[in-house]
């Protein structure tokens, strides 16, 4: 059984949460809009990450961390061509040129840096392969996901706020009946004008994005700012007339009943037992 899907539907935060809670071991492969990446986990902890276009050999990581100069890195690469990162680290540490803690910290920082970049991916495909851990010869680390999720979510707050403000893209927009400012007095960007030009009760927000080749994030940002500015309004589908029973049963703001608090069904035990034996013999 493979876990796969689209990041649009199931985001990085949710994936990391799942991997953390289920203590999964394996590799999460991501195909983003621009790049590919993979993240490796052992028992729910992040141990490795790679991102297309980001060189991840140990000498280069150490150079980025200002541990070695470019010159030193070139020497290491020439002298130890073909060796794995583990071998290189071992040689450098045993020869006293490098401290183990420095390697550990640099690798950890490099991996976190990649992961936080990936948090901004809201489009693409993902796939979790439980059996794979492509980390041979690599220096791995072990990072608790809770912290990664906290920090990463802080960075995606904006996206989520947009998602909340505008949960449904399959609704049309119309021009505000009484705009606070006439359109001609508003300074709009080219992108905003492109969206404005499609505002019409027969176009949904999603269609407008498609006409303009915009990503969900882009269209959300623009529509959100147009809504905030009071230039356009959402055409809401008619609401059901029945008041939700929730208003009667669970006062607003009160916690929902938990399993333990569930109401006793208004039925006799013998009847439930009859149902059970009848269904068993179906």
């Amino acid at each position: 059984m493979a876990l796969k899907g689209r990041l649009e539907d199931f985001g990085i935060t949710q994936l990391l949460n799942l991997i953390n809670l289920a203590r999964k071991t394996g590799t999460l492969y991501l195909e983003g809009a621009q790049k590919n990446s993979y993240l490796c986990f052992r028992e729910g902890k992040l141990i490795y990450a790679a991102l297309e276009g980001v060189e991840d050999s140990l000498p280069v990581i150490l150079q980025r961390a200002n541990v070695f100069t470019a010159e030193q890195v070139r020497m290491i690469q020439t002298n130890m061509a073909g060796r794995t990162d583990r071998d290189i680290a071992q040689v450098l540490i045993t020869s006293g040129r490098l401290q183990q803690q420095v390697v550990v910290k640099s690798v950890r920082d490099a991996i976190l840096d990649l992961v936080y970049q990936i948090f901004s991916w809201h489009e693409g495909q993902f796939r979790f392969e439980p059996s794979k851990l492509p980390v041979q010869g690599k220096i791995t680390t072990s990072i608790a996901l809770e912290n990664v999720i906290m920090e990463g979510s802080r960075r995606v707050k904006e996206w989520e706020r947009l998602q909340d403000e505008l949960p449904d893209l399959d609704i049309p927009l119309k021009f505000a009946e009484r705009p606070t400012t006439p359109l001609r007095d508003v300074n709009l960007s080219v992108e905003e004008w492109r969206v404005i030009s499609f505002v019409n009760p027969s176009n949904t927000i999603r269609q407008i994005a498609q006409f303009n080749n915009m990503s969900e994030l882009q269209i959300r940002k623009i529509v959100y700012s147009l809504l905030q500015a009071g230039l356009v309004e959402i055409i809401r589908p008619p609401r059901p007339t029945v008041a939700p029973a929730s208003a009667r049963q669970v006062p607003e703001g009160m916690p929902q009943p938990t399993a333990a608090q569930m109401q006793r069904p208004a039925v006799k035990r013998g009847i439930v037992q009859k149902l059970i034996s009848r269904i068993r013999e179906l």
Binding site: R6, F10, P240, A245, A259, P265, V267, I271, R278
Partner: protein
């Protein structure tokens, strides 16, 4: 004559009609329509009012299975259908993570209608893309004590198991006589 009711709910195309069909002794009285909206054209037919299946228990007792319509624009039907139910099944298409958020929303809505026992059925477990039930429990934030069971709605034995699990949950809450 006493009639009892179990509601089968879940997102669009999760397999509600199929599940009821698998155990009902009558042909499911469902109000299927050809799908018109492009966005939702992933299958030919959809339920527009409700599904309705029946299992006769004995001379005095009938169990009705009601399936909710999957598309959001019919959700005014939900509360009416949930009136007086014994319990409910939230059916999820385990191969379509894009529907999980909706499944969670439906679950919350039904729970707010009536605090009766319910279970989550991770449907389409016969497909290789299906997410396992344990993972669905996590992503749907199913509370501890509520079962998340595997399901293949096209397989009668599997559907029986789902209904039985719900009935066991109900039994736990019913007083000794």
């Amino acid at each position: 004559m006493q009639t009892l009711k179990i509601v089968v709910t879940g997102p669009f195309s999760s397999g509600k009609t199929e599940l009821i069909q698998s155990v009902s002794e009558i042909d499911v009285v469902s109000t299927e329509r050809k799908i018109s909206q492009e966005a939702e054209r992933i299958k030919q037919q959809t339920t527009v009012a409700m599904d309705f299946g029946r299992i006769t228990i004995d001379d005095e007792l009938i169990l009705y299975l009601f399936g909710t319509p999957g598309q959001r624009r019919f959700d005014f039907m939900w509360e009416i259908l949930s009136e007086g139910m014994l319990g409910f099944v939230v059916l999820v298409d385990s191969t379509r993570p894009e529907t999980f958020r909706e499944a969670r929303r439906i679950l919350d809505t039904f729970r707010s209608y009536s605090p009766v026992p319910y279970i989550v059925a991770a449907n389409k477990q016969d497909l290789s893309d299906a997410w396992p039930p344990e993972d669905l429990r996590i992503v749907l934030h199913v509370e501890p004590g509520v079962k998340v069971v595997p399901c293949v709605a096209t397989d009668r034995e599997s559907v029986k198991e789902v209904l039985l699990e719900l009935l066991y949950s109900i039994l736990e809450l019913v007083d000794e006589e």
